[in-house]
């Protein structure tokens, strides 16, 4: 289980009230983390995504809930109570590694990222994604990974009795989907090696590299004889150096 295809979803649902509580609903125009932010189903503990020293992460896909205009919200009325059942969040997602944002605008300034309209989640028949995260993003050991969303449709300002009375706990207001490949242990080491060789890091290339290593277990004759010669030469040089320096001792292992 050293190479694992992983996913992480962040979703924000209603809380069964009208939707005016700023502790439940994120403010518009402000970026929040899907890993340790104050809203939605953030992972327990709310830790940042620190990649451990024996791990390697390749981010393959990122998507979020589509919809731009808040005017397109839909409600359902039952028993005199109007419930919000669809909300276009107008959201963008950016990937931050350490202190660097992945997405920047054409003037080379930190941008909000890719929108849910360009890369939707959940996917629908009618709305196919335009955006594909290619090349994938490598997150190296000891780097910190963060994924931040920004909503540009203000839920709290829209939550008036004229619009709806309740945001049910089943209504998904915003969502983010991240798909990544997680390498750990020896596979992470092989991933690092592949990266230094300029080879793309995929499960196939890592598997292939592992096969090569297994095939070449032990050194072939020519390389091994060279290795022996080199080691012998180093031993002679070291002994000579010690004799010159007056440090040669007969009780050291390997001495003549």
């Amino acid at each position: 289980m050293a190479i694992k295809k992983q996913l992480y979803t962040w979703e924000l649902y209603g809380d069964g009230t009208q939707g005016t509580n700023p502790a439940i609903y994120p403010a518009a125009g402000v970026p929040f983390s899907i890993l340790y932010g104050a809203f939605g189903n953030v992972q327990a503990g709310g830790q940042t995504g620190l990649i451990k020293e024996d791990h390697f992460v390749v981010i393959d896909k990122i998507a979020s809930k589509p919809g731009i205009s808040p005017t397109d919200f839909t409600t359902a009325t039952s028993g005199g109570v109007t419930s919000l059942i669809h909300w276009p969040p107008n959201m963008f997602v950016n990937i931050v590694i350490d202190t660097t944002g992945y997405y920047q605008d054409p003037q080379n300034v930190f941008a909000n990222g890719v929108s849910g309209t360009a890369s939707p989640y959940p996917r629908q028949d009618q709305l196919m994604p335009y955006y594909d995260l290619w090349p994938p993003i490598y997150v190296l050991p000891d780097q910190t990974l963060d994924i931040r969303y920004t909503l540009f449709n203000d839920i709290i300002a829209s939550s008036t009795p004229a619009n709806w009375n309740v945001i049910p706990v089943t209504t998904m207001l915003a969502s983010v989907y991240v798909e990544y490949t997680h390498y750990d242990g020896t596979d992470a080491m092989m991933a690092r090696k592949l990266m230094t060789l300029g080879i793309p890091i995929t499960p196939s290339t890592v598997d292939n590299f592992r096969r090569l290593l297994l095939e070449n277990k032990g050194l072939d004759t020519e390389t091994f004889s060279f290795y022996l010669k080199a080691v012998e030469a180093e031993r002679i040089r070291e002994n000579k150096e010690k004799r010159i320096q007056g440090l040669d001792r007969h009780h050291e292992y390997g001495n003549e």
Partner: protein, 224 residues
């Protein structure tokens, strides 16, 4: 992070009634306040610095160590068309060589989002082929043209919002040197080609390190 797939989205949304532009970001909307700016018919609007909708402080201009490969452009509603430009040259032209009089590629060919109103992007699924390269120091941008007058609205719906989306590969840093070599050699600027070229560089360096030294070096008098 030298090879990055970037996006930029333009909409004619603004923050307040009467505004025409919103700089460096996107305005905040709410139910009852989704405000769009007006657009004149047949008048191209630069999505970076055109003065309508979300804009930037400055036009798209590449630094000395940057390359851009434009992959895709998409827009909506169906009355919009998009024209790419590099410095003073427009990409889409009419058969007589004049820049497209209708404003470039129409939204019916490249709808955004793909599948809007049942319109599917079949012809440009893989973006522009061949891709459009923007070289270091060049100015670039996208102009959108509406074939009808777009009136400002305070409560715009999804289909009333004018939208344009571009996707491009940003090559910067050391990778831009690789890109320069590829362009000079006539190879396409793709992620795969850049990776392969870098692999070749590494391989050649390894070979160079394994090569036997010339005799005058191995048998020469030691200097130290």
């Amino acid at each position: 992070m030298s090879l990055r797939r970037q996006v930029y989205e333009w909409r004619n949304l603004v923050q307040n009634v009467g505004d025409s532009v919103f700089l460096n970001g996107y305005p905040i909307s709410s139910v009852g306040s989704c405000i769009t700016a007006a657009m004149s018919a047949n008048r191209p609007v630069d999505i970076f610095i055109g003065g309508i909708g979300n804009n930037l402080d400055m036009p798209g201009r590449l630094k000395a160590y940057q390359y851009v490969v434009i992959d895709a452009v998409a827009l909506w509603p169906q009355t919009l068309s998009a024209q790419l430009y590099v410095n003073t040259t427009k990409y889409f032209q009419d058969p007589d060589g004049v820049p497209s009089r209708t404003g470039g590629i129409p939204a019916n060919v490249v709808p955004f989002p793909n599948g809007q109103n049942g319109v599917i992007n079949y012809d440009y699924q893989d973006g522009l082929k061949p891709s459009l390269y923007i070289l270091p120091g060049q100015n670039w941008g996208v102009e959108v043209t509406s074939s009808v007058n777009v009136v400002a609205s305070a409560v715009a719906t999804e289909t009333q919002i004018q939208k344009c989306f571009i996707k491009y590969l940003l090559i910067d840093g050391a990778d831009s040197l690789v890109a320069q070599h590829l362009v000079r050699s006539g190879w396409a600027l793709t992620v795969e080609n850049i990776w392969k070229f870098k692999r070749d560089i590494i391989k050649h360096h390894l070979y160079a390190g394994m090569a036997e030294l010339p005799e005058e070096v191995t048998k020469g008098k030691r200097k130290v």
